[in-house]
């Protein structure tokens, strides 16, 4: 299936891009993160990121569907 990923902050720096579309068989965000982490060399472990799918925070075991927009959120630093 095809997914759209958005990257922010340090993950965007590491990926060298703010977004990408990928073809993957990853069934959930945990598997997907392992895949993109290896490709882009992210140093943050899965336990440090939150996952948003289509604008909602979800558990890393959330079932992914074709066309989903996924964001791995590094620790925030607003305020």
């Amino acid at each position: 299936m095809k997914l759209r990923l958005l990257y922010f902050a340090s993950l965007a720096d590491h990926a060298g891009r703010a977004e990408e579309s990928i073809e993957t068989s990853a069934s959930d965000p945990a598997v997907l993160y392992a895949e993109v982490r290896e490709r882009h060399g992210f140093s943050l472990g899965l336990e440090r990121v939150r996952v948003a799918v289509n604008g909602q925070i979800v558990p890393s075991s959330h079932l992914l569907n074709d066309g989903d927009e996924i964001v791995f959120l590094p620790p925030v630093s607003g305020g």
Binding site: A12, V71, S77, G78
Partner: protein, 146 residues
Amino acid sequence: MSRFSLSEIAIDPDIEKQALDDAGAGACVIFEGWVRNHNDGRSVNHLDYQAYAPLALSEGEAILNEALSRFKLREASAVHRTGSLAIGDMAVWVGVSADHRDAAYDASRWIIDEIKLRVPIWKNEHYADGESGWLHPDNTPVHCSA
């Protein structure tokens, strides 16, 4: 009406404060976060805030609505900057009104703490030595490369 917003331009506190008006309110507490010229011992030139806007807006809204149910408030409102900010610029504005000051102080503090904890906004500091870096929530740098 939305209580939380993001702004790409300078925050106008006078406009934001209008959302707090209520004839029953006796106390108003406003928190403003300003860009400091220093962090963690380093001299800061300016900084950028990046937000994942759709989720930042819904998380911010959820925080303010939760504050209204947790604390005895009349109104609550907040706005966070995105984009490039200079020293002294306002990064975040949080305002609450309440009948009494106890609730106003408690709610104000709770809201800014929750914003810093939950809202997907990231700060990139540009230092006087030419380096820059994304920050963790505790304002320590992210050492993401080996």
